[in-house]
């Protein structure tokens, strides 16, 4: 038995083969550089630098994990939504997020990583997801603030990603962005309704905006002088604008919209800088950001445990589906053989 498992030690490549491999790499790199220079797209079967593949895989899988973990704070309010219409909208929204996770895992799979492996990494705590989802959704108004601020920030981040150099990622983002803009509008609408409602409702809305504002701003990542990976991602046409640039644009949008809402941003230092022509905001607590990122946020353990629980509880279902599919395939093959 053991002997059957022994495989021969691979022979070293011949000098000709080595030369051929190096030549293929050089040709691949030349084509890749050409694509980057033209600002065109790399597709799954194209040659790509190992670091490019690794960076994309990390970014896309993190993005997918964020969608999946991001379902939880909102799913928390499905059962208590205060009207049937709101319940339907919220259900549809959380369901969309599962769909986004599916597109993104599929895009990541084109880079050679199976979904199971990504899910295992998430559950083992080896993979990251957006820190924003480690904050709790405490009131109904959080459904509004998450839609307006969190999805709003996500859109600012994601619209440029529709032009990301990796084809499957860019295409997934086009679809996701369309749905995200619905999500943001529904969040805005929830807040608008609350703001124009009873004093208790308006207070609920303001409290939620106060809590989600700074974490939403930090979704764009650390300041540019503290963002080591940004430069390479921009050179690869994955990232188009710097963290601070996107954050500034986002603040400008929120300033306009918060007026319509009849609410305020919890930041007395927001202003438009006439010299730089950019929006500026007050200081952000990057220590808190790092703490949450390092696993010490309000809900990190809870979010991961919930995902682990669903995954473990569902194991027997996935096994059954796989076993059934295998049996069906065997039956089908036997029928073919008999005929």
């Amino acid at each position: 038995m053991a002997a059957q498992n022994l495989q021969p030690v691979p022979e070293a490549l011949s000098p000709e083969e080595q030369e051929r491999a190096a030549q293929l790499d050089a040709e691949g790199q030349a084509y890749f550089d050409h694509v980057m220079a033209q600002d065109s797209r790399i597709e799954p079967k194209d040659w790509m630098p190992a670091a490019y593949r690794k960076t994309l895989l990390r970014q896309i899988s993190q993005h997918a994990h964020s969608e999946i973990i991001g379902m939880q704070p909102e799913a928390n309010w499905i059962s208590r939504a205060p009207s049937l219409k709101r319940k339907a909208i919220l259900m549809a929204k959380v369901q969309d997020e599962a769909g986004h996770g599916l597109y993104l895992y599929s895009a990541a799979e084109t880079l050679g990583q199976p979904r199971d492996k990504m899910m295992d990494d998430l559950i083992a705590g080896k993979a990251r997801y957006s820190s924003i989802f480690n904050y709790p959704a405490l009131t109904w108004a959080d459904m509004g603030a998450i839609g307006w601020l969190v999805d709003g920030a996500a859109i600012c981040n994601q619209v440029p990603l529709c032009r990301a150099s990796y084809g499957p990622y860019g295409r997934a983002m086009v679809r996701i962005c369309k749905e995200e803009s619905f999500h943001q509008r529904q969040g805005f609408e929830i807040l608008l309704e609350l703001s124009n409602g009873t004093p208790a409702q308006k207070q609920m809305a303001q409290d939620a905006v106060n809590r989600w504002y700074a974490p939403a701003l930090m979704m764009f990542g650390p300041p540019d002088d503290d963002s080591p990976n940004s430069k390479q991602s921009m050179a690869w046409n994955i990232k188009r604008f710097s963290n601070d640039e996107l954050r500034s644009r986002f603040v400008g949008m929120m300033v306009e919209q918060v007026r319509v809402l009849g609410l305020t941003l919890p930041d007395s230092e927001v202003r438009f800088n006439d010299e730089t022509r950019k929006w500026e905001h007050g200081p952000l607590d990057w220590e808190e950001f790092k703490e949450v990122l390092a696993g010490r946020g309000p809900c990190n353990a809870q979010r991961l445990e919930r995902r682990r629980e669903a995954h473990d509880d569902g194991a027997w279902v996935r096994e059954a589906a796989a076993a059934y599919a295998a049996k069906q395939a065997r039956k089908h093959a036997e029928k073919e053989f008999a005929a």
Partner: protein, 312 residues
């Protein structure tokens, strides 16, 4: 419903064709009685019958349910609402992402049906779907016990879905012929969606029954837990008797043979037997509920009741 106020689906369509209540093309729904294999997703949003359209018609006095029809709509609406509430819990907890999407979809369909039925029922005394969902007390609900049963594990949920979807398909198919045009229109839309729910549950019955030893044991157990509540679905009473006479609805008992035959076919294919368990007496249609409903309502209604009169 007396004979003077009877409208057929056809006259309803004609009478409403010129109205601008939002679903001018209601014929898509009403004419669909023989078209249950059509894809629900192929209907464009502009043509779909939305709960808001029904609410608008009720509010503007275009339609008003008879007392019997309103009570009946309450039953169907409460069944769907309580089930949607149950299924919604799976979103973010399903065994696979694909099932988060699928169970979420089914929950959304059920919620949509609930909203339509409740909007119609609410027309009896100028209330809204939310008045009925959030401000009725436990004994005022009319859901059958089956819909109130806990999700359990995935097998229990699938067993409940299996019974519900085959029951609702038979019911809504027949209600497309109702002399009550609104019930007919809601059912015509719902039956297309419930057809997908049947497909979903039947496929999972087969996978679980013929998958692994564990999944087989679990689905057998799940069906056994759910089956006692099948009986209540097919019990006739004075209301269904009057509605059947008027052609507004059908006697629940008349659905039983087709339900048994079609679920039996799937169970046979899955090498399962109909669970040999006694039926529970039920009582949901008279406001006598399972122990579970109180908890479901407590959670569902808490926020709305904290802010009475608020709009959301």
């Amino acid at each position: 419903m007396n004979s003077e106020s009877v409208t057929t689906p056809e006259t309803y369509t004609e009478a409403h064709a010129a109205e601008t209540t939002g679903h001018g093309d209601i014929s898509v729904g009403v004419a669909g009685s023989g078209d249950s294999s059509a894809s629900a997703t192929r209907i464009t949003p502009g043509n779909a019958l939305r709960p808001e359209d029904i609410a608008l018609e009720v509010r503007t006095g275009l339609v008003k349910p008879s007392e019997d029809a309103a009570e009946y709509a309450l039953r169907l609406g409460d069944d769907a609402l309580i089930l949607a509430q149950r299924l919604g819990h799976w979103i973010s907890r399903a065994p696979e992402l694909e099932e988060d999407v699928a169970l979420g979809n089914i929950a959304l369909d059920q919620l949509g049906h609930a909203r339509s039925f409740l909007s119609y029922a609410a027309g009896l005394d100028e209330k809204s779907e939310d008045d009925l969902a959030y401000f009725r007390r436990e004994h005022e609900f009319r859901s059958a016990h089956l819909f109130e049963q806990p999700n359990g594990d995935f097998a229990v949920t699938i067993a409940r879905q299996f019974v519900v979807s085959y029951y609702q398909f038979e019911l809504y198919s027949r209600l497309t012929q109702s002399t009550d045009a609104t019930l007919a229109a809601i059912s015509a839309k719902a039956v297309k969606e419930v057809d997908y729910h049947r497909d979903h549950s039947a496929q999972w019955i087969l996978r679980l029954a013929l998958g692994t030893e564990e999944s087989r044991a679990r689905i057998i157990h799940g069906l056994k837990l759910i089956w006692p509540y099948v009986g209540e679905l097919f019990v006739d009473d004075e209301l269904t008797h009057r509605l059947a006479e008027a052609g507004t609805a059908v006697e629940p008992s008349s659905l039983k043979a087709d339900f048994d035959r079609l679920t039996g076919e799937i169970l046979t294919e899955a090498e399962l037997e109909v669970p040999q368990v006694p039926f529970a007496p039920g009582g949901g249609r008279r406001g006598k509920h399972s122990e579970h409903l109180g908890y479901i309502l407590a959670e569902m209604q808490v926020l709305a009741r904290e802010h009475p009169g608020a709009s959301w």
